[in-house]
Every structure is written in structure tokens, then in C-alpha cells.
């Protein structure tokens, strides 16, 4: 899976020293919406593969997969946030969650985006409502990023994982 690195338009001539302040985000699609999580939480992105079901587990747990000998639990973020299972042809984002490696199934990984803090609105109760987010987003959206004309929903992936894992 190739990831194209694009810079936000306002940044084309940024000098190196300001780069530290940029927030690096990985953008991915769930249904019609674009979400993002921090790049530094991500270990790897792999194509979606068939998971072994865990009996009794809720719908937003896809199951377990084998990643080079490590058993990884996969959370279906589509089912969790958008109400619809993520595409079976999508991708799995492997997130480092403390000592654990957790898979996040999404429809499509789009690109890496670097945003200056000025382009990120801290999330407020009504901001989330205005963006038309569902109640499942409650407490897991850390901000809304502006990239050109579109809005990116920045997620706190660790809180989501904590909600799902035992």
C-alpha cells in the first residue's frame, strides 16, 4: 500500500524548523467520512485479510489475524464508528497500544497529512454535533482538522482500543 505524502497548501515553503510543530496524521476513509489518527501511533499498514472470529465478541471486533507470527486482534472501526462493517477489501492499520499491537480495519487508507496546530480545532461539544458525528464518536474525537475544503475527524485511537479490549 503506497502512501502519498502531501503537505497542506499553506505549507509549501515552510522552513525546516517549523516542521517539529506539525502534527503528522494518517488519513483514512470510513464510508463517506475522512478520519485521522496520529502517525506515530502506527506501526504498519497491511491489506485486510480474513480474521478468525472470536465467539461472543461484539460486531466491532473482526477477530484475530496472524501478522508474522504475532496474533493481532482486529477492531472493525467501520462497525464501531460508522455503523457499517469496514470493506473486506480495505486495510488494517496496526497500532502500537502500549505493549500490544492492535489492528484497526478501515475502508481505505488515503494519505499522510501534516497539519500545523492552527489548522486543528480542538473539539467542542457542538463542533462534534455540527460535523454531524454519531454518538459513538463521543469522547474519542480529539479535534477537527482542516485540509483544504474538507474536514478531518481526528480520533483518539487509544481510547477506542481501551473500550474494546478487555
Amino acid at each position: 500500500m503506497a502512501i502519498t505524502l502531501i503537505r497542506s497548501t499553506s505549507l509549501d515553503s515552510t522552513v525546516l524548523t517549523t516542521e517539529e510543530a506539525l502534527r503528522e496524521l494518517v488519513l483514512f476513509r470510513l464510508g463517506e467520512r475522512t478520519h485521522a489518527i496520529d502517525l506515530h501511533d502506527i506501526r504498519e499498514i497491511i491489506p485486510r485479510r480474513r480474521a478468525t472470529r472470536i465467539p461472543g465478541a461484539p460486531r466491532d471486533v473482526a477477530g484475530i489475524i496472524n501478522v508474522r507470527g504475532t496474533i493481532v486482534t482486529v477492531i472493525d472501526l467501520g462497525a464501531r464508528l460508522a455503523g457499517e462493517l469496514a470493506s473486506a477489501d480495505g486495510s488494517v492499520i496496526l497500532v502500537q497500544h502500549g505493549q500490544k499491537l492492535v489492528g484497526i480495519a478501515v475502508d481505505e487508507v488515503c494519505k499522510v497529512l501534516r497539519l500545523p496546530p492552527a489548522d486543528i480545532d480542538p473539539v467542542q461539544a457542538d463542533a462534534a454535533r455540527i460535523a454531524g458525528l454519531s454518538s459513538e464518536h463521543g469522547g474519542v474525537v480529539t479535534g477537527l482538522g482542516h485540509s483544504g475544503d474538507s474536514i478531518v475527524i481526528i480520533l483518539d485511537i487509544h481510547t477506542i482500543i481501551t473500550h474494546v479490549l478487555l
Binding site: 480474513r50 472470536i54 465467539p55 461472543g56 471486533v61 484475530i64 489475524i65 496472524n66 507470527g69 496474533i71
Partner: protein, 636 residues
């Protein structure tokens, strides 16, 4: 020279010495007159002292020094073994353990030993007059002349980092006096550029015997000879190569034959284990592919490779096996302390210390066993008065034994205490709402176990320091189950309780039965599988809502894997029953099809909320897909 590189070596060695010290102190407590344990403790303390002084671990050296002085007084008959003396010795052993950990971790400033040093000195200064006189006498007899004492050292043949050892010996010598005329030079020594033998001259007031003992304490020293200037003139020329030490000469070849061991980092063993695990999964795939290809030459080569991989696996597994005494050895001390603090008289015995378990398994079972032992001392045994009233021997008998049984190891903790009070457990269970049947007057063995294994269940009203916090036996159960083992309890009122832990020998690779259920494959550890039979519909019955199988006159309760795994109920078609057995409980697990036995690599997986608490881990099948391992303990 940076000594921190040798901190690890120091840590390992001093832990071994401390473990020995604890043991010997217990022995001394039993037979206060014995001189052997006293001498051995003295040597071990002395060695730690020497090593820690060299490493620059001041507080450790100071503690050992004071303990050594105290013990020396006993050896010389100036003090006697007493309860306060033993107490302070045990306390010092504990303090040394944590001080050494801190020192090695580079947190030497955090070591706090002032109070303990005070206690040690107070005990040692009971009769200061005599001790002083003795010191004077020793000083007066030592006259080594200007050249100083000639010291010749030979390191053991299997010494690792001989340069470092030699350096440590020299540093140790420097603590005794002034060192000069080192041969070969210190540079050559540090570079390891010598044949295990070196010599030096030492200007010291210490007698030759003390110097020899001090240098020997550095460890890995095969022989030391120290000769004062006057002695030297009358004996051999100062050429270390010509010096013949009869014991030293006889040793090397013998030592080489016997000590065919090297230390290996645990991490390397773990890596080997992981690699062989991967290799076994690949082997499975290879065997399947070769079978499909149907080429005879390929099939033969694969089966040969397969055989070699099995051997390799066995060898690696063997290399990870460690005798249980590595963990058991700290228990006598622990039981003693627990018994003392609770005012119980307990006689503790262990057997089967040589039984071997996989290293990672051994690390895991330590805590559960500690819990069982403390539980026995706290809840199991009566007070001395109660025992007397019951006509029992004054000392309660607590035994811990390990034994090998086929592919598992059994650990038994047994006491002759009061046994588990069924009436009280029932009352408590009712109080906590676990039992609602008002007519029930007695708990069966099975119910009793289920009851006390409940998280948070405790009949102890008073919480003690040792147990009764409500993190009771359930912690033991869940840990042992997570390890793929099982727990069984036998108890009789007034006669005592025996807890039996059955553990697989290794954590990482187990033999399992693969079973297909609808479109999924589950692994069932063979440890608990008694047999498998085809399900004969005519033998099926339903008794009080429970499906059972009539089998050779027996009634076997059944559970369907399809139900457990929330899959559609099977239409007709064949099914198989896996007869599971755990202790005295048996049941049948109904699956669609059996897909054979296989060595599987047990892997951890992160459980999710709502997921069935039915699986102890996962494994990777030969096609690369994960499969869940059924926790038989949770079914029975």
C-alpha cells in the same frame, strides 16, 4: 576500567549466595550447635563482601562486613546462636537482597542500612574487650618483611572473562594492603593475556591465611597461595610457573569434564523457542504442500526435514528446562517467616526439587505456590493451643512436592491443619448470594471448589498481612488455568487440605487435537483429552434439560462446541465427541470433525469485551490462519 559491565555477573552470583545463606540460616535455626552451616554462611557472606567491595558497592560491603563480624564471633565461641541473632541475620539477608538490586541498578544512594548496621553492631559488641585483644594479637604476629607477601593466584580453567577476574583479585588485594610487583603486568592481565596464573607482592598486616581467604572469595579462583617474606626464603623460588599445587594440578581436567555448562541469556533461549515455533508452522505447510505435489523425492526430503525439526524442537525444549528448586529454594524461609508472624508452629518439608520445568513456566508458578503456602499457614493450621486440644502433634506438617506425570508436572501443597470448613464456606456463599437454595445443608467437593475459586471469595473475616485479602485462591486458579494447567483440592475436616496443581511441562508448545466446527477450527490441548468417539445418535439422551451420552454404562454430560461458539446448530451429519477429563470431572465436547493431532505453538491474544471466556490462547495453523485454543478448565 568500567565495572558496570560485570554488574550482571555480580547480581547472579550474589543471588545464588543469598539463597544459600537463607537456607543455611534455617538449618542453623534448627540445629544451633552445628558448625557446618555456620562456616558455609560465613564463606558466602565473605564472598559477597569481597565482590561488592570490588564493585564499589559500599553499603553492601558494609552490611556483609558487619554480618561477617557477628558470625565470626559465633565461630570463635564469643557469641551464641540466639533468636535475636538469627532474626538480625535473616533481616540482613533480606536487606542485602534489595541493596544488591539497588546497587546494580545504579541506585546506590537509595540504599538505607543505617538501622540494620546499628542492630548488627549492637549484637556484635556484647563483649568488645575480648575481640579487641584478639585483633591486637593477630596484628603482632604478622611480619612480612619489606618485599611483602608473595601471592600466587591461579584462576579456575572455565573462568569467563579471566582478565576481569584477575583484575578483581588485584582490586581485592588492594583492600588488604599495598600491591606491587604484579606479574604479568596489569595491562596484560586486563587484556586476558595470561595463562590463568599470576603473582603479586602485597605489603599487609593480614596473616597469609586471611589473604588467601580474601582473594579466594573473589570467585573463580582455583588456588591462592600467600607466603610471608620469611617463609618464602626457605621454600620455592618465586616463579609462579614452577609452583606446584597438588590440589590445583589435579583439578583442571576433572573440572573440565564435570563443568560442561555455560551461561546463556534467557532472551536467546526465548528467541530460539520462537524461531522453532515458526519453523514448526512452516513445517506443517511444507508437509501439506509436498503431499499435494505428489513427488516422491520431495516427500522424502520433507519427511526427513520434518524429523530433524522435531529433534531440534526437543533439544531446544530440553535446554529450557530448569529444576524447580530455583523457585522452591526460597519457600522454607517464606514459610518460616509466615509461621512466626502468625504464631503457628509449622514443620515444612519439600520433595522433588530436582523435577524440571520450562523456565517460563517456572517463573509463572512461583506466585501461585507462594499463595497456597501462605494460605496453608494462615488458614490451614490451627493455633498451637487448638492443635493440642485436638490431640495433634504440636508442629503442623506442611509439605510441598513436585512430581513428573507423563507430559505434566504435579505440584502438591499439603497440610495437616483444620481442613476447609464446609459449613462456613456454605454460610459465606449464602451471605454473598452465591447460594440461594435454602434447603442446601452441605457442599459437595466440586461445589466447594467452585465456591472458593470465585473471585473475591474469602471466609476470613479479619484481613491479615499474609492472606485473606479476598484475592484468594481464585488468583491461583486463574493463573494456573491460564498456564494450561488445572487445580484440584482435597480436604477433610480436622485432617487438612491438599491442593494439587497439574501443569504442562512447557508453556510454549503443546500437543493438541484440532477439531472442525462448522467452518472453523479449534485446538483442544491433549492433556485433558481422555478419548474421542463417534457420536451415536441412539446413545443420546436428555436428562433434566442436559444432553448426555450413554457410554459403556456411564453417563457423560455433553456440551456442543457449536453452541459455545455461537454457530448455527448442525443439521444431520456425523459428529464426534471429545471426552475431556479434569480431576474427577468428565464431559464430552461435541464437534463436527476431528482433524488430527499436532504440536501447536501457544500464543497470547488480546481478549475483547464480550468475547467468550473460553479460550486460553491462540495458535497459528499450517495455512497461516490463527485458531483459538479451548480452555478445558473453563468447561469443566
Amino acid at each position: 576500567m568500567d565495572l558496570s559491565r560485570y554488574a550482571e555477573l555480580f547480581l547472579t552470583e550474589s543471588r545464588e549466595h543469598l539463597s544459600a545463606i537463607n537456607h543455611l540460616l534455617l538449618e542453623l535455626e534448627r540445629t544451633p550447635g552445628a558448625s557446618e552451616p555456620l562456616d558455609a554462611i560465613f564463606r558466602a557472606v565473605h564472598t559477597i563482601k569481597g565482590m561488592s567491595a570490588t564493585m564499589g558497592y559500599g553499603p553492601v560491603a558494609e552490611l556483609t562486613h558487619e554480618l561477617e563480624s557477628l558470625l565470626d564471633r559465633v565461630r570463635r565461641g564469643e557469641s551464641r546462636i540466639s533468636a535475636p541473632l538469627l532474626d538480625v541475620s535473616f533481616a540482613t539477608a533480606d536487606a542485602l537482597e534489595s541493596a544488591i538490586d539497588l546497587a546494580v541498578a545504579g541506585r546506590i544512594d537509595e540504599i538505607e542500612v543505617t538501622q540494620l548496621l546499628g542492630r548488627l553492631r549492637a549484637l556484635a559488641s556484647d563483649k568488645p574487650a575480648r575481640a579487641k585483644a584478639n585483633g591486637k594479637k593477630r596484628r603482632a604476629t604478622s611480619d612480612n618483611g619489606e618485599a611483602g607477601m608473595l601471592v600466587r593466584v591461579r584462576l579456575a580453567p572455565d573462568t569467563q572473562l579471566s582478565g576481569v577476574r584477575a583484575y578483581l583479585v588485584v582490586k581485592r588485594a588492594e583492600t588488604l594492603g599495598t600491591v606491587h610487583s604484579l606479574s604479568p603486568s596489569i595491562e596484560a592481565l586486563q587484556a586476558g593475556d595470561f595463562d590463568r596464573k599470576f603473582s603479586l607482592r602485597l605489603n599487609t598486616h593480614e596473616p597469609a591465611g586471611a589473604v588467601e581467604a580474601a582473594l579466594r572469595s573473589v570467585g573463580d579462583v582455583e588456588s591462592v597461595s600467600a607466603m610471608s617474606g620469611s617463609e618464602e626464603n626457605q621454600t620455592t623460588p618465586p616463579n609462579p610457573d614452577l609452583h606446584v599445587d597438588p590440589v590445583g594440578e589435579a583439578l583442571p581436567r576433572e573440572a573440565l569434564r564435570q563443568q560442561q555448562h555455560i551461561r546463556i541469556e534467557l532472551r536467546r533461549l526465548d528467541t530460539l523457542m520462537n524461531l522453532i515455533g515458526e519453523l514448526m508452522i512452516t513445517r506443517g505447510r511444507l508437509v501439506e504442500t509436498a503431499a499435494a505435489a505428489g513427488d516422491l523425492a520431495v516427500t522424502e526430503a520433507v519427511s526427513e526435514a520434518s524429523r530433524l525439526i522435531s529433534q531440534l524442537q526437543d533439544e531446544i525444549m530440553m535446554s529450557r528446562m530448569v529444576p524447580v528448586h530455583h523457585v522452591f529454594d526460597r519457600f522454607p524461609r517464606l514459610v518460616r517467616d509466615a509461621a512466626r508472624s502468625l504464631g503457628k508452629n509449622v514443620e515444612f518439608a519439600m520433595s522433588g526439587k530436582e523435577i524440571e520445568l520450562d523456565r517460563s513456566m517456572l517463573d509463572e508458578i512461583g506466585d501461585p505456590i507462594v499463595h497456597l503456602l501462605r494460605n496453608a499457614v494462615d488458614h490451614g493450621f490451627e493455633t498451637p493451643a487448638e492443635r493440642e486440644a485436638a490431640g495433634k502433634p504440636a508442629f503442623g506438617k506442611l509439605t510441598l512436592s513436585a512430581a513428573r506425570e507423563r507430559s505434566s508436572v504435579t505440584v502438591r501443597v499439603s497440610d495437616d491443619g483444620r481442613g476447609i470448613d464446609r459449613v462456613r464456606v456454605l454460610a459465606k456463599a449464602r451471605e454473598q448470594g452465591f447460594v440461594t437454595d435454602a434447603a442446601k445443608t452441605e457442599l459437595t467437593d466440586e461445589e466447594l471448589i467452585r465456591m472458593i475459586a470465585r473471585p473475591g471469595f474469602s471466609t476470613k473475616d479479619q484481613v491479615t498481612d499474609l492472606s485473606g485479602r479476598g484475592v484468594g485462591i481464585d488468583a491461583v486458579y486463574s493463573r494456573v488455568r491460564a498456564l494450561g494447567g488445572s487445580v484440584e483440592i482435597k480436604t477433610a475436616a480436622g485432617q487438612g487440605t491438599t491442593t494439587i496443581l497439574r501443569l504442562p511441562i512447557t508453556l510454549a508448545i503443546i500437543r493438541a487435537l484440532l477439531a472442525r466446527v462448522h467452518d472453523e477450527v479449534y485446538a483442544i490441548p491433549l492433556t485433558h483429552v481422555q478419548e474421542t468417539v463417534a457420536l451415536t445418535p441412539s446413545h443420546l439422551k436428555t436428562v433434566r434439560g442436559q444432553e448426555v451420552l450413554l457410554m459403556r454404562g456411564d453417563v457423560l454430560p455433553l456440551v456442543r462446541m457449536r453452541t459455545l461458539a455461537s454457530q448455527p446448530v448442525a443439521q444431520d451429519g456425523t459428529a464426534h465427541v471429545i471426552v475431556l477429563e479434569l480431576g474427577e470431572r468428565r464431559m464430552g465436547l461435541v464437534v463436527d470433525e476431528l482433524s488430527g493431532q499436532q504440536d501447536i505453538v501457544v500464543k497470547h491474544f488480546d481478549a475483547v469485551r464480550g468475547g467468550a471466556a473460553l479460550f486460553s490462547g491462540a495458535t497459528i495453523l499450517s495455512d497461516g490462519s490463527p485458531s483459538l485454543i479451548v480452555d478445558v478448565g473453563s468447561l469443566l
